[in-house]
């Protein structure tokens, strides 16, 4: 088999259920060439740009030649078109294992069957939406890597190569300010460039969690500028941790930061470290975080033994507006969420059969690998909820989370008593409209736009005050 055909099949092996566009395949198969061509396309010189576009078309033709051969052999099939007539391709195999044996070469691609769950009925009714169900058995939603565990950018880059293909939403790098401070600007720029390409290829985001407590504001601002000007911000999203005291002490830096993001009309993610110390970051599905207890556990028992932790496993989202419009009651809401937790547990049982794939995300196979999985949880995400709703939302969420915790604890206890010491947790969090714009009802909650430091001090304060303090929804950083 031709090397390019092997490379194409490797892409499908990473994500057997995915439909790839030819552009995505070109990205994955011709990684190095594509990066060089992109540099030409982004060059100022128009001649260079034309050359770049010509090269790009050449790569597409080359790829299509081999794709067609795989289609002829019934290994791949065309599944429609995307955008301006671009082919959508997927494995011809419906489910099971595809083995291609040629001379000394052997390629095995396992395609898991579709996951049928107890919430399929709710999904048909339009009340629940699963997040990327095609990879429920083989991928995790999100992991957090701890910058402190990586002495150099090269080591982090190597680890990211292992993690990115195994995640389907977002990878967070906590303490990124330390890497900014100790890396040469050129090395950092190159790292961010390749990271943005990889994140694009794997269709995941990378959250760069940056604390502004230190002295390196200038370099942090430089990185922010780089991300915005090069367009890498689509894949690499910084979240800045601030406190009111810091805001006062570093007014000039914040003004500059807000100005930069406002100028590029890009959302700026700020986390108030004074009211919530664990990391908070965002993927397509919504916000991710650990509870204060989980974060304390991470810092005391996990940090140092491994290089980060699993944060999100699988997720489904509930449209609260639709649910209550369609005469849903608090009791039926609780029942639906418990059914969802049941479904998650059953899926988790099947995921453990694929645990060799899921384990790829952990560093090595020793005790550190087990530590890496200790903080992970499944997410039930909520869309379109209002604190002033005509149903007792805060109490309802609080009591539902309590019931979910009880269910999770009971399952852990039963499994532990059977000699299966597993961890199972389900958390409630917010959903983002981008999760599935066609599915969700139109946003009803009030959106606050902050364009200056003054806005930040007044509007956010108002928004936070408007929220009931007893709100237990995790994480609270969803303003």
């Amino acid at each position: 088999m031709h090397a390019l055909e092997t490379a194409i099949l490797e892409a499908f092996k990473q994500d057997p259920a995915k439909r790839f566009t030819t552009t995505e395949l070109v990205h994955l198969v011709f990684k190095e060439e594509y990066a060089a061509i992109n540099r030409q396309i982004n060059a100022v010189d128009r001649k260079e740009q034309r050359k770049g576009y010509g090269q790009k078309a050449k790569l597409h033709r080359k790829l299509l030649y081999h794709v067609n051969k795989l289609v002829e052999r019934a290994i791949l099939k065309e599944e429609g078109v995307h955008g301006k007539g671009e082919k959508l391709l997927m494995l011809a195999l419906e489910e099971g294992e595809l083995v291609i044996q040629e001379r000394k070469q052997r390629i095995v691609i396992a395609k898991p069957s579709n996951v049928t769950t107890q919430i399929d009925g709710y999904e048909r009714e339009g009340l629940i939406r699963k997040f990327r169900p095609e990879s429920w058995l083989t991928k995790q939603n999100s992991v957090l890597l701890d910058a402190d565990a990586f002495p150099s950018l090269a080591e982090l880059q190597e680890r990211l190569q292992q993690v990115l293909p195994a995640v389907n939403d977002v990878v967070a790098i906590h303490g990124f300010e330390a890497l900014i401070a100790r890396s040469a600007p050129e090395a950092l720029e190159s790292f961010l460039h390749y990271l943005s390409l990889d994140a694009h290829d794997y269709d995941v985001r990378v959250a760069l969690l940056v604390s502004l407590a230190g002295d390196g504001d200038e370099r942090v601002l430089g990185v922010a500028k780089l991300l915005l000007e090069r367009g890498w911000i689509k894949q690499l999203q910084p979240v800045f941790s601030i406190t009111p005291r810091l805001l006062n002490r570093k007014e000039a830096s914040f003004t500059q930061l807000l100005g930069l993001f406002a100028e590029h009309r890009v959302k700026l993610h700020l986390k108030n470290g004074a009211i919530f110390s664990p990391p908070v970051y965002f993927g397509r599905a919504g916000a991710y975080s650990l509870t204060p207890d989980e974060w304390a556990y991470y810092l005391e028992d996990i940090k140092g033994k491994t290089d980060g932790c699993l944060v999100g496993q699988i997720a489904a989202s509930v449209d609260l507006n639709r649910f209550f419009l369609e005469k849903g009651t608090p009791a039926s809401f609780r029942e639906m969420l418990l059914t969802t937790a049941h479904a998650f547990f059953e899926v988790e049982e099947r995921r453990r059969r694929y645990s060799a794939d899921l384990a790829m995300i952990a560093p090595g196979t020793g005790e550190g690998a087990k530590d890496f999985f200790r903080a992970g949880k499944h997410y039930i995400r909520l869309w379109n909820y209002e604190w002033e709703a005509d149903y007792p939302l805060v109490e309802l969420l609080g009591s539902t989370q309590e019931e979910l915790d009880k269910f999770c604890q009971a399952q852990e206890t039963i499994f532990k008593s059977c000699g299966l010491p597993i961890r199972f947790a389900v958390g409630l969090s917010t959903s983002f409209g981008k999760f599935d714009q066609d599915f969700f009802t139109e946003r009803r909650y009030r959106k606050t736009v902050v364009a200056s430091l003054k806005d930040l001090q007044t509007k956010i304060d108002e928004a936070v005050k408007a929220r009931p303090p007893q709100a237990q929804l995790q994480p609270p950083g969803d303003a």
Binding site: H342, F345, E346, E349, R352, S355, A356, L358, A359, A362, T365, G366, A369, K370, F372, F373, A410, Q411, T413, I414, F415, K416, S417, C418, G419, L420, P421, I422, R423
Partner: protein, 221 residues
């Protein structure tokens, strides 16, 4: 105390009756009120019936009980899967990443010396387990294999055994291991015995016990 029964279901019901009749009430580490009987020995003459208790638990829809496949896999698979805190299979077949206690020791030993009393597998690892504050601690501690009257008999020493949820799974797992060794020795299976240091029931599960095992089983005298 000792119970002998032909099938797992008979043994299970009888053990629960005995725990509730003779046990003492105490509050465990997780603040749950329990009824406990010390040093309970239960022998099942026909270990092939072990699956019946697992199926009875899986039929009860209040919780999700582990599948037969997963229970067997946990005890027969030697790979250290990161989503379990510890694995019986790994400790049995790859103890401390050094020794396959069954294939390299128990089976060849019983083949050479069928009357031996040394065919013992250890699951506890004090270097890993004996730590204050450690969340999970294996319950199955020692498994002994004996060839008696041309049958492979197994005795399992269990540190603490929740007789409603845990014991059926443990018995099923041990019956699968017994099957594996018996097959390698080309012997039929003999009785399977569990010795539980703490045979207990959580008092908040008595309604569930009756729902699974029938009315009257969980009555405390």
């Amino acid at each position: 105390m000792e119970i002998k029964a032909a099938t797992v279901m008979e043994a299970w019901r009888e053990a629960i009756r005995l725990i509730l009749a003779e046990g003492r009430i105490f509050t465990d580490d997780e603040s749950r009120e329990s009824c406990e009987l010390l040093n309970l020995t239960v022998t099942i003459e026909s270990p092939s019936t072990a699956v019946e208790a697992v199926r009875a638990m899986r039929a009860y829809r209040k919780w999700i009980y582990p599948s037969e496949e997963e229970l067997a896999n946990i005890v027969l698979n030697k790979d250290a899967l990161p989503n379990y805190d510890y694995l019986y299979g790994q400790r049995i077949f790859d103890y401390d990443h050094t020794l396959n206690q069954v294939d390299e020791y128990v089976i060849p030993l019983l083949q050479q010396r069928p009357n031996t009393r040394r065919a013992v597998v250890t699951l506890l690892n004090p270097l890993r387990d004996a730590r204050i504050g450690k969340k999970n601690f294996p319950s199955i501690s020692v498994i002994s294999f004996r060839v008696i009257e041309q049958r492979l008999c197994v005795t399992v020493f269990i540190r603490t055994s929740g007789f409603f949820t845990g014991w059926p799974a443990n018995v099923y797992q041990m019956s699968k291991l017994q099957e594996y060794v018996a097959h390698a020795l080309a012997l039929p299976r003999g009785p399977l015995t569990t010795i539980s240091l703490s045979a207990h029931l959580h008092m908040d599960t008595l309604d569930d016990v009756e729902a699974v095992l029938g009315k009257g089983v969980a009555k405390r005298k």
